[in-house]
Symmetry: C2
Subunit: 208 residues, 2 copies
DNA sequence: GTCTATAATGAGATAGAC
DNA sequence: GTCTATCTCATTATAGAC
């Protein structure tokens, strides 16, 4: 009895569609993506898209839900952990940059789509992923300030700085690379270096 | 002889169109924008758009060129000036945040559109604005490192950190505001505070 | 210059054969 | 399940009156 014979290497049509839709939607957004293009990318026919996912909107929802879950799902496990503050910062930066390196279009995609629909609040966060909770991290920051281990800083500002430095270089890559006038290779190296550089930069800034 | 009688308050159709196109394109992107919508926003007729600008593509080019010029044009005058490094950082952050506060959708717009067209290199930078030149700034950083006034840091990393912290909170506002769970008012306050907070954060980090 | 009406095209969705 | 052919509608673009 050999079940799932072709599941591994040669994925089913549904999975091929999702993979293709992910690539196209993330690069071009809902409005810019074409069902035709997604079908081609998946190596199948346009009609088949509608067979598996009734409409473009439905297919988009699948991709968007997955995306939000990935972006926000990483926050809580790390920031809510019991690791000491400096270690936590290192873990967070390392983890987030690794993730975005694998999914460079994901942040820009989410942000663009949210801007397009100011009405739909972001609150339906992946309608399943637990709402990110930063309170643990914030408390930790406050505690370290009281203990005079770090300088006074609003935890919100610290978090913004951290996330900004991790994510923006990916979202803004084309602009940055042009302005810095560096090759792909060199830019990739800069990005990789940031896993170590950002924690140092942050900790230098806040420690007493 | 009163020339330009109505130029001030009541702008001509062409200017009304550009202003409307700016708002719509920046929020929804090329693919998401509708000529109908731009016409309505400008308080005129759809056909008139085509009278002034032959096509949607042409109108888009106008807006995009302006946008790139604004984003990149601010770099050189500040970073290329003769101000001392720390002062320059303060000036840059102050100026860039002020500008993005006035044009919150501009960075996301440019970044999204560049992603949609990986083919067209960004090199045609506003086809008129002088190519941003960071060499002065970079030299200054190197000098201060040699003089042991600041710690060793790659100038590129410093610049990325600076720009990231200034721009990302605007691009990622919806996400950040959800995660931080704060009101519009509070978030605006955080953004305003950053004009002072970021320079302190950066200088704390790099100064010896 | 500005409008209304309409043509032309692009793209999502469905029908029906295999 | 998968395809080809087709329908339908939204949207860009033009024609032509005023």
């Amino acid at each position: 009895m050999q079940l799932n014979k072709k599941v591994k290497v040669e994925q089913g049509a549904e999975q091929k569609i999702i993979a293709a839709a992910r690539r196209i939607f993330q690069r071009k957004g809902m409005a810019g993506a074409r069902m035709e293009e997604i079908a081609a990318e998946a190596g199948i026919n346009k009609a088949l898209l509608h067979y598996y996912f009734r409409s473009k909107e439905k297919l988009f929802q699948v991709i968007m839900m997955e995306a939000k879950g990935q972006m926000l799902g990483r926050l809580h496990p790390i920031l809510g952990s019991d690791a000491p503050l400096f270690e936590k910062i290192e873990l967070f930066v390392e983890s987030y940059i690794s993730f975005v390196t694998e999914n460079p279009f994901l942040p820009g995609f989410i942000l663009h789509e949210i801007n397009r629909h100011p009405e739909k609040l972001v609150n339906e966060i992946s309608s399943g992923a637990k709402r990110p909770n930063l309170s643990k991290f914030f408390q930790q920051v406050e505690t370290e300030i009281k203990k005079k281990n770090i300088i006074a800083i609003q935890p919100e500002q610290l978090f913004m700085n951290m996330l900004s430095m991790c994510v923006f270089p990916f979202v803004g890559r084309p602009m940055l690379q042009t302005v810095l006038n560096v090759t792909d290779k060199k830019f990739n190296q800069l990005l990789a270096d940031r896993k170590k550089e950002i924690p140092v930069f942050i900790i230098n800034s806040i420690k007493r």
